[in-house]
């Protein structure tokens, strides 16, 4: 079982007045691994890094992020550059300290990820992109987790976007009006891995229940968050080979594989677990041809009727943790073709509504 080792054990503080001493930070990082354990038997310790992560957080935001960072380091061994904004006029303008978060793997080995926690006042934030460039471990991808608003100078923000190999957002944290075709969304959106339990449950059921006539579906209603519901519908459309009807005026009309039209509607209900709280697929005769999928506590309940057959099954839902969501995007290198197709289809569905 992995367990977090007290990071304070490895803490080394460095403080720089108004200029950033990269060498001091690198020396501090190197000194972490020169630490002599005073116990009788020291476990093997591995300094691990498969990716660089930039994580901007708001002022005093570190405490709120601490547990998620520890879990993230376990799932994705990395060098984390935590950029915390401090109030304007703060002294020193830029300050850093380094830590390591370690987890004990089966067999006793300690696997450790490094973190450089950089606190920056607005007057120094334009230094951040070059600092990140210098501190990133060579040869490894650089991931920018743009997950919460900070007061960072837009120029610095833009530079971080440009610097990163992949920017990851969480569109559930963004305003509804921002559902767009901006390329930044196609890099990595945590909503996509968040949908995995629903996609897995619904996809598996449809794939294995050949008696359910997907071509007889005429109405689709998706209930979920403003970010997840369209994306889920887009994915469903990819699965069932729907095509959109340009210029459709009433509802999100799409055409099924057999050429017949079906209507899609969305019911937005906040941010349910895994993004979706319900799905209904019905044929013209909803009593005889219906697939309803709902949440029931910790289960996804699938209730399907087709012809005289009634099938009900429950799938235990295991939402992905934040770290697992990020890991999913890291391991797909942000180039998940299915996600891109689903997003494009969703966008077309949404644009045909008004």
């Amino acid at each position: 079982m992995a367990q977090t080792v007290d990071p304070a054990r490895f803490q080394h503080v460095d403080s720089i007045e108004d200029r950033f001493d990269i060498k001091a930070v690198e020396d501090a990082l190197a000194n972490l691994w020169g630490y002599e354990d005073d116990t009788a038997t020291s476990p093997d310790t591995i300094r691990a890094c498969s990716v660089n992560i930039i994580l901007p957080v708001a002022h005093d935001g570190y405490d709120a992020w601490q547990n998620r960072i520890a879990d993230l380091a376990r799932q994705v061994p990395s060098r984390i550059l935590l950029l915390e904004e401090t109030p304007a006029g703060s002294k020193p303008a830029i300050d850093a300290h380094v830590t390591a978060t370690c987890h004990r793997r089966k067999g006793g080995t300690l696997v450790c990820s490094e973190m450089v926690h950089i606190r920056t006042a607005p007057q120094a934030c334009l230094l951040l992109p070059s600092i990140c460039r210098a501190l990133a471990v060579s040869g490894l991808p650089l991931l920018h987790l743009s997950l919460e608003g900070t007061g960072m100078d837009p120029q610095a923000v833009h530079a971080l976007f440009e610097l990163a190999d992949l920017t990851v957002i969480d569109s559930e944290q963004l305003a509804e009006s921002l559902w767009s075709d901006d390329p930044v969304y196609y890099g990595g959106d945590l909503v996509w891995p968040r949908l995995t339990p629903w996609r897995s449950a619904v996809g598996h059921f449809i794939a294995t229940c050949e008696e359910f006539d997907t071509s007889a579906i005429r109405h689709v209603e998706v209930t979920g968050s403003h970010a997840a519901a369209p994306l889920f519908a887009g994915w469903l459309g990819c699965l069932l080979r729907w095509q959109t009807i340009p210029g459709a005026s009433a509802g999100s009309r799409v055409r099924a594989a057999d050429g017949k039209e079906l209507e899609i509607s969305f019911d937005y209900d906040g941010t349910p677990c895994c993004g979706i709280s319900g799905l209904t697929l019905t044929g013209d005769d909803s009593a005889r041809n219906r697939l309803a999928v709902d949440m029931d506590d910790e289960y996804i309940v699938i209730d399907a009727r087709f012809g005289r057959t009634h099938v009900e099954t429950r799938v235990s839902i295991r939402p992905l943790s934040f770290a697992e969501e990020v890991a999913s995007i890291v391991h797909s290198h942000g180039a998940d073709a299915v996600y891109g197709q689903a997003r494009r289809l969703a966008l077309t569905m949404l644009s045909s509504v008004s």
């Binding site: 691990a48 061994p77 067999g107 080979r241």
Partner: protein
């Protein structure tokens, strides 16, 4: 002119599911021999782990069948204890509450028709209702001598039919698959009376290991290694499967089998095929198995005298491992004092094909060696010209690509580097990939992967019958050579050493040495 029909539309676009974990259709998994250690330590914990990761359909059922008298409740309690002790996934009450009601137990003898009648009734019940499950997977966690009996009764009870209405039927069997070619063929003949080859899943749990699966990925997903993966650049290959443990209570089985049958015929040859095979035309079961079989067919089988000269068999005596004194093999509980069973085997093999002609493959496996380690090491040839000799640099160490299967799973490459300084010294250095450094998550247990694949119908990671038979062909020839009058003496080695001197000489006479692990 005949028109070419358009490919018919399929219901769904499977690409939309490509990034999702593959979950097999719901199935009833019937475990024969459910009272045994395998079920308790490996199978049910693996099924629990799959369930916890939503990789086992929630409608799937588990039925344990064994002779001991117990109720469903008692069986579930035993399985819960096994999960709590052996599962690498933390025990979760919620997951268990969902899985437990789907676990049943049927008491019965494998040779009693009534057992199968009751099993049939249970399967019939499970085929009705909202959570109906028609598919069946039979797992024979029993000694091989029971296989024929179980299969025969299943067939007589009508439980092996896989017509479309009955769902799919598969059977999983554990190694050893026979103890020589003749018994393997006989065993397969018994199973084949009721099951087709595509329904039979023969487990070699090594193939379920993440690192073993990675051998093909490493070779074929990277452009730089495959051009070197042949006789032009490779000097030799060493495959080692070392155990530090002794017989661990398995003396009854092991003393009859020996290391050649226990490890060489199965695990070591499987590793050899993955290292030596040609790239398959597709990453699918049939294509992969075809290439593995081609490797085994190209294994040179020399005469008995030559086989004896290229192999070593040995038995451990007393010694110490990691500071602990251990007894010799013949002093182990359950082992006869005059046992001639080998606990160590080393052999030099050659493949007669274009890729590997002239490249020796050295295989070794043994018990009570200094540490547990399984590794494949590819040693490359020296550069054609010793450029640095005049600088005073003696003969360089060869480059070695080592694939560590267990523990410290990973891959390393040894190469030469100049030592910093005014003098001209060249030292070997190592470039390392460690799973633990690159991937935060623990890899899944082998049985999780194998059970998942069996339910999904993917036999890529299982052994096909022709692979098994070709493996026995080599092992039978080797054992026959050893047993000839005046045949191979049983060498001795101290427990805690890396094996007998005779195994060292096997390489030294060709100017080579075993790697120090």
């Amino acid at each position: 002119m005949q028109s070419i029909s358009a490919k018919p539309e399929t219901r769904i676009d499977a690409d939309a599911l490509a990034d999702l974990p593959r979950i097999g259709a719901p199935a009833v998994i019937v475990i024969f021999g459910a009272s045994g250690d395998l079920t308790h330590r490996k199978l049910v914990p693996a099924l629990y782990n799959l369930s916890a990761q939503s990789l086992l359909d929630e409608r799937s059922q588990i039925i344990g069948v064994a002779r001991r008298d117990k109720s469903d409740k008692q069986f579930r309690a035993e399985m819960e204890e096994g999960i709590r002790t052996y599962s690498h996934v933390a025990f979760d009450e919620r997951i268990w509450r969902s899985l437990a009601p789907r676990i049943r137990y049927i008491r019965g003898s494998f040779d009693d028709a009534d057992t199968y009648a009751r099993l049939g009734a249970c399967l019939s019940d499970l085929r009705t209702g909202d959570a109906a499950v028609r598919n069946r997977v039979y797992y024979l966690a029993t000694p091989p001598r029971s296989f024929g009996t179980i299969v025969g009764h299943l067939s007589q009870a009508g439980l092996t039919s896989d017509d479309p209405d009955a769902g799919f039927v598969r059977i999983i069997v554990e190694k050893p698959f026979g103890h020589d070619l003749e018994t393997a063929q006989a065993l397969n003949g018994e199973i084949a009376t009721a099951f087709r080859e595509d329904q039979i899943f023969r487990i070699d749990h090594y193939l379920g290991k993440e690192t073993v699966q990675n051998v093909l990925v490493f070779r074929l997903a990277n452009g730089i290694f495959e051009p070197l993966w042949n006789r032009r650049y490779v000097d030799h290959v060493q495959i080692t499967a070392a155990e530090s443990i002794g017989v661990e209570g398995r003396a009854g089985y092991f003393d009859r089998a020996g290391m050649a049958r226990d490890m060489l015929q199965s695990h070591l040859l499987q590793l050899l095929t993955l290292i030596a095979m040609e790239p398959p035309v597709a990453f699918e079961a049939r294509a992969v198995h075809d290439e593995k079989v081609k490797v085994l067919r190209s294994l040179r089988l020399p005469d008995a005298e030559t086989l004896r000269s290229v192999s070593v068999r040995a038995q451990y005596g007393t010694g110490a491992i990691a500071g602990e004194q251990v007894v010799g093999y013949c002093d182990e509980e359950g082992v006869a004092a005059d046992s001639q069973t080998e606990t160590y085997v080393a052999i030099r093999l050659e493949l007669d094909n274009w890729r590997w002609a002239g490249v020796p493959f050295y295989l070794r496996t043994g018990k009570r060696l200094p540490k547990r380690a399984t590794e494949v090491a590819i040693q490359f040839k020296q550069p054609p010209f010793a450029l640095f000799e005049r600088s005073g640099v003696p003969r360089l160490d060869a480059n070695v690509l080592a694939i560590r299967i267990q523990p410290d799973e990973g891959i390393s490459l040894k190469f030469a580097s100049k030592v910093p300084g005014h003098d001209f010294h060249v030292d070997p250095v190592q470039m390392d990939f460690l799973y633990s450094r690159a991937f935060g998550i623990e890899p899944p247990e082998a049985y999780e992967r194998l059970l998942m694949d069996a339910v999904a119908g993917d036999s890529t990671l299982f052994a096909r019958i022709d692979e098994v038979e070709l493996g026995w062909r080599l092992t039978d020839a080797l054992r026959a050579a050893w047993q000839e009058p005046g045949g191979s003496d049983l060498a001795r080695y101290e427990a805690g050493s890396w094996g007998p001197r005779e195994a060292d000489l096997l390489l030294e006479r060709e100017g080579r040495r075993w790697r120090r692990l």
